[in-house]
Amino acid sequence: MIKSEQTIFQRRVDRANRRARFLITIGGYSIIVSIVGILLFLIYQSLPLSFKTSMKDLLIVELPLRVNKTQLIGIDQYQEISYFLDDKGEAAYYSIINRDFLTRDSIQLEDGEKIISPAKGSLNKEVFAVGTDHGRIITSEIRMNPRYQDNRRFIEPSLKILDTFTVALPPETEVNHIEKIAFCQNEDGNLFWSWLDHTGNLHLKIYNSEDDISFDYLLTEYLGREKVSTLTFSYDGEKLIIGSQTGELFWFDLSDEEAVYLRQNWKSSQFAITALAFLIGNSSLVIGDQTGLIEVWFPVRDENDQFRFKPIHQFKEMSAAVIQILGSPRDRTFLAIDETGRIQLNYSTSNQTQLEFKKSDYPVVAASFAPKADGIILLDQKQKLGMYQLKNEHPEATLKTLFGKVWYEGYIQPEFVWQSTGGSDEFEAKLSIVPLIFGTLKGTFYAMIFSVPLALLAAIYVSQFSPRWLSRIIKPTVEIMAALPSVVIGFLAGLYFSPLFEKHLMTLVLYTFILPLIFLLSIFLWRLVPEEKRMRVPMGWELLFVIPVLGISSLAVLGLSNPIEVTLFSSNFKQWLFETSGQNYDQRNSIVVGFALGFAVIPIIFTISEDALSNVPNSLSSASLALGASRWQTVRRVVIPAAAGGIFAAVMLGFGRVIGETMIVLMATGNTPILDLSPLNGFRAMSACIAVEIPEAPVGGTLYRVLFLIAFLLFIFTFIINSLSAVIGDRLRKKYARF
């Protein structure tokens, strides 16, 4: 009877054991699984950054167009309809969906008149000017407006003439050809034309639509003996660039339409400039020459504070003359097309050639980006139309732009910059992670130099020197510190302490000098007290002596700070600091953050290292003391080495905690992503950057993915640190702590 009861009981215990073991195992595994899951998710989100640009053929058809007469082509944003403008002014609309021509429009030309020079004038509209062999310049726009009917979308193309004028020729000349033309319609609706006439004269005409007045210039004399080979406007109409047959470039500044002047003239090649185009943002100029050289130049401030075009990027050379450069309407991608029909897709900021291809054996006569830059259309000499889908999602994020120095538009040299978003599409995203890594390390550094000594000394004091009643107060107090939410610490640091800090900067600086001084002095005085008297102070009560010392130093500092600031630093210490060191004092600076972050990690470092120190067996310190070592010698030579593993682990865990800490750095720093070690200014940490920017980042965009990459890096950092702490800590423990 009793026996069976026992077995029943035994069985119940067994079952409970099994259940507990099962639950615990599940718990352990699910932690591992979720960590791996997080890691995989981070990788999944950031991996597309590394995907190569790709192109897919959507459509290749031979079109019944007049042979070799097409001047311009374009396509609507949905890639349903493309237009072909030929030399007779006929605009044919071709439906890509139906693979058939739709209606036509035409530019009315005179008898026998032909279009000989076309130029598009905008990145986001199909607006263009064409020059004819009758000396006329006709400006028109093709609109491809979507119309919705029965829930279906129809693109309705239409052509509208905006402006027509005839170029006057000197008398007795008969031929009046517009040989080359550049055109621009800027956002204000102002029109800019520049053309080369049959006599070799270069003209500029600006039409101000607001005031309805025009300005005419003859620019030939500025060119000296240079012959124009190609010309282009920036899309804002502020710059006109002329390329010459001998490789010279001329920059005309049109920002004042009444006073156009030659701003810069330089030589960029030994050969004829054969293609020019600005990229979005109107700063980067892509230059292609007869030998296939492709370079990007943009204006950079020089020593005299003047903007000068400077060579910034050089791209892979093409095998023949570059005949066309097409800037993408969305980003700093551009197409370069050479004589033989070879095509390069380049990205300016990253200086990277993303694609190189040749789709036809014949030269390209016309090409265009789709308005969303997600496609290209090309027409070759044999009237073959190729339509290609472009997958070029994150060209601005490459290893080089993320981790290297990049020369951005407007900067005087290559730099590490994080500036992810600007006002518009034209903004050149600057996605260097380096300042963020730097910020994280800087914050960590200042936090650690503040917290590690404090926490370790406190741990040593509490575990080795303090009387028991005192440690019983200190330990839980410090542990409570750990429970303080970091938002609260960040809030206090950022909104309360940093202004206070700034206000009493002089006092604090003085404190750092005077406090140790008075401390040393008081220790010296203490030593003068006869040993017998000193011995009578019970252990731990020495602390009481600290109180008057602190009080005296505080009084001294408070009393001195104002007079010192007035006499030595002409009443303004911050100003003096700025003038002598060039360091500006930011209110939310690294010292404040160091304190705040330090405050957050002190409990971790303290608790773990205190445990490690207390766990050193008494037998070791007894042995040391019995050998005549003093208490301090015992601590330094025996206890600390024996606890080294735990202390190391404590510091590393603190390190890991600081690296990942978000709220404090977010609230207590200015979050400026600068590369400056100075403790007087702030930084932007990786974690804070993610927190600040992820709500604003369009899902799936480059910024979004880069933020995930940063998260991944952060994960790896902390992973490495924690593993290091485990491995090295373990090794140290094995070495020193096999008691």
Partner: protein, 271 residues
């Protein structure tokens, strides 16, 4: 300074020590872990120079406590206090102004459980000299060597002085602890059941070592093991409940004890 026996204040139990010089002497020593009851009650004992003196007695009778009074290791236990005096080489070691480091340098100690530092063998032995201010490495080498030779360990470890002391066997570790104490060139070595955790062979070696050391050092050894006391010591004190019951030369104490309690204890009727 060694005080001659004739000058000793307390001679109640010390008639048999007439020819010896005194190194340690306690006068009406009471020791309290807490104020309830003393762990040592009115202990008056004289320890002769360069002899082995053993303390025996049942567990908890205060042997270790008494031993620790000689180098003030009891100070480490909070809340303890004593009454009476402990004189070492004539000097009251509890008077103010005594430097503990100097006292413990002079009075070495070997603990019951071997406790080498987690460092190399060399570092272990050199520890004492180092903390007492010797920095010259050749001097230290010399001291390490002679201490290891005295502790009879040199032959076994001379090839691996830089290896961790924790790799030694238990007996070797204990002899290392002896060497470590010897490196300080103490006058007195206190040993608290140094062999209690060791196998018979290691115990034998330790006993041999003690035998060799007694020409140079005053050794006070606490032991649980009466055979050991009989083997290694010149004098033996039998303690019970914090009191010295009987103190005599070892042979007399074991063969012809004065007190009935002593006889009962050594014949194994209790303890």
């Amino acid at each position: 300074m060694v005080v001659n026996i004739q000058q000793a204040v307390s001679q109640k139990t010390a008639g048999f020590l007439t020819d010896e010089k005194i190194v340690i002497e306690t006068l009406n020593l009471f020791f309290y872990y807490s104020s309830d009851s003393p762990a040592l009650k009115d202990v008056n004992i004289i320890i002769p120079q360069k002899k082995v003196t053993a303390f025996i007695g049942p567990s908890g009778c205060g042997k270790s406590t008494l031993l620790r009074c000689f180098n003030r290791m009891n100070d480490l236990i909070p809340g303890t206090y004593h009454e009476g005096k402990v004189l070492i080489e004539g000097e009251d070691i509890n008077k103010t102004g005594i430097r503990l480091e100097r006292l413990r340098n002079k009075v070495g100690m070997v603990f019951q459980k071997s406790n080498p530092f987690p460092m190399s063998i060399w570092e272990n032995v050199a520890f004492g000299p180092k903390v007492n201010g010797i920095t010259d490495n050749t001097d230290l080498d010399e001291m390490v060597k002679s201490a290891l030779i005295q502790a009879d360990l040199w032959r076994e470890v001379k090839e691996r002085l830089d290896q961790s002391a924790l790799d030694l066997s238990g007996g070797q570790q204990q002899r290392l602890c002896i060497a470590r104490a010897l490196a300080n060139k103490p006058h007195i070595i206190l040993m608290d059941e140094p062999a209690s955790a060791l196998d018979p062979i290691s115990t034998g070696k330790i006993e041999e070592t003690i035998d060799e050391l007694k020409n140079q050092y005053t050794i006070v050894i606490v032991t649980h093991n009466m055979q050991q006391a009989a083997r290694v010591s010149d004098y033996t004190a039998f303690m019970m409940t914090g009191e010295i019951i009987e103190f005599n030369d070892t042979r007399t104490l074991f063969t012809n004890p004065d007190k009935k309690l002593t006889e009962e204890y050594i014949t194994g009727r209790f303890g």
